[in-house]
Symmetry: C2
Subunit: 305 residues, 2 copies
């Protein structure tokens, strides 16, 4: 099973899948468009979330960071008048320091991620979408800024005029991701932001063509006219897209087989999805507890049969 | 009052001086020969000890690091198979991150130290000996290594064939240190390792000539044939020096007025010091508690009268 992941929505679904599948049967291809250098380390937030999830140390209240982590370095820096763009826990910082050291020694992000995975005893595959730097840059009335600056520093408040995946022109799909895709026919596109979490992965060359040859199930992160969480709505609107599950389906229509939307969605007309040649399935996608995460995962696995 | 400092001996004496003098009357010129890049940050251990002492947060059990600091990043890195050369606490790491950020922005080490001092509300002057990089390198049978590698990683065990202050040829005394020395006539050379703590300061151009014009009191870090702490003995022997207070006095003889040695010293013949034109004074230099630190400081202040 291949899962395209980013943000916090897809990790919740992976958490459900883990109750049903052995970790070694899952390969997660992870967005790196939100990666950022901060405090001398290279932070890959979406990779870390997946790492911590499989390592069994993810903080499942926030769906990022290590559970029980302390913030002593962060707080001391704040006392000295320095504000880190990302609130990095002390153990989290260690992981990022180890990664940075590996990258500086010449390892690719794929290799570094594999090595850190191994140190954590993780048996799932965790593969960055690319070893090249791709950065989601948001154009606001106050100027262009890194996604993290928009989302964390400015709390997603500025108007979004447009955005781009800087570096995407020169970026290639990670060879390990390509290899994993060659070996597996089932792909889940998780309920993550289609603009900044899934978008960068899909913007890489080859990936859409590869997905066309697979059985692909996508889960919508939008219910009605609202994103379940995060800035997906604002960013979709900036691209002139309909902020709705239909809008998401349109983004994915060329390469998905099944589109899962929420049973609460009062806006989507499934016939419009079927008209695109895609099977539409209404499920409970609000994964608010362990059981609901497993149930959604179970339904999705059944759809592959 | 100017104090030349490094290691842990002189900070103890400064701790005593603080019970007698307002902080703003002290300027500490600090060894930077043990500075090192580790885990992406520029660590200046001798400066940090003095910073934490004046900030009131120094761990006075170890005489380095912040009292009550945690080691969560360090320990997590260790769990991932990475051993940091220096055991950096989480709050300590924050200070080093802030310094590194300042240096990367183009501040000198003197400027960065002043800014960090100010953030801590410190009123004493803390000045690195130089803004240029000087590194104590130890030649061992196993090859040349940074002082920290010799002392921390190898616990000071390897034989010392020789050592050098790499970069000393191009290094200049920090202009702020020079300015402070111009304004003050009293200098204490603390009981720190004369090779790796005081040695690099004295190896800078100009400093010895300046000290000749001052009233200088040096405190020996050696009692009998043994250093009170640290690798001073081994390093002095490597330079062919007598491991004794007399050996220390010989290093300082051209520019000190008074030489303080320990009352327990059964080896030193004070007449040999007097013969160098230096007044020899026996005091209790074992600063094992607050009161003893203050007493030694008081005696030294009286010697300046």
């Amino acid at each position: 099973m291949i899962i395209l992941s980013g943000g916090t929505g897809t990790p919740k679904l992976i958490d459900g899948l883990r109750q049903l599948l052995p970790d070694e049967e899952m390969t997660v291809i992870v967005n790196t468009g939100e990666d950022i250098w901060s405090s001398e380390v290279f932070i890959s937030p979406d990779i870390d979330t997946v790492l911590y999830l499989f390592a069994g140390i993810l903080d499942k209240n926030k769906w990022w960071s290590i559970t029980g982590d302390t913030y002593n370095t962060y707080n001391q820096m704040k006392e000295l008048g320095r504000f880190e763009i990302l609130m990095l826990g002390d153990r989290d910082r260690a992981v990022n320091l180890v990664r940075t050291d590996m990258l500086k020694k010449g390892l690719t992000l794929t290799e570094a991620t594999a090595e850190i995975s191994e140190s954590f005893g993780i048996r799932a595959g965790i593969i960055p979408m690319s070893d090249d730097v791709v950065t989601s840059m948001i154009e606001t009335p106050g100027g262009q800024m890194h996604f993290q600056e928009f989302w964390v520093t400015h709390k997603g408040m500025p108007d979004v005029l447009s955005f781009e995946y800087r570096g995407i022109g020169e970026a290639r799909l990670s060879p390990a991701a390509k290899e994993a895709l060659e070996k597996d026919d089932c792909v889940i596109i998780g309920p993550s932001n289609p603009m900044t979490s899934i978008g960068p992965i899909l913007a890489l060359p080859e990936i859409k063509e590869i997905l066309k040859t697979k059985k692909v199930i996508a889960v919508s992160p939008i219910i009605g006219k609202e994103a379940v969480s995060g800035p997906a709505g604002k960013l979709m609107a900036a691209k002139g897209l309909d902020v709705s599950s239909k809008g998401v389906a349109e983004l994915y229509k060329d390469f998905i087989d099944i589109f899962v939307y929420d049973i609460r969605d009062g806006v989507l007309n499934p016939e419009e999805i079927e008209k695109m040649g895609i099977k539409a399935v209404a499920l409970d996608t609000m994964m608010t507890d362990e059981e609901k995460r497993m149930n959604l995962a179970k339904e999705i696995l059944m759809l592959f049969r």
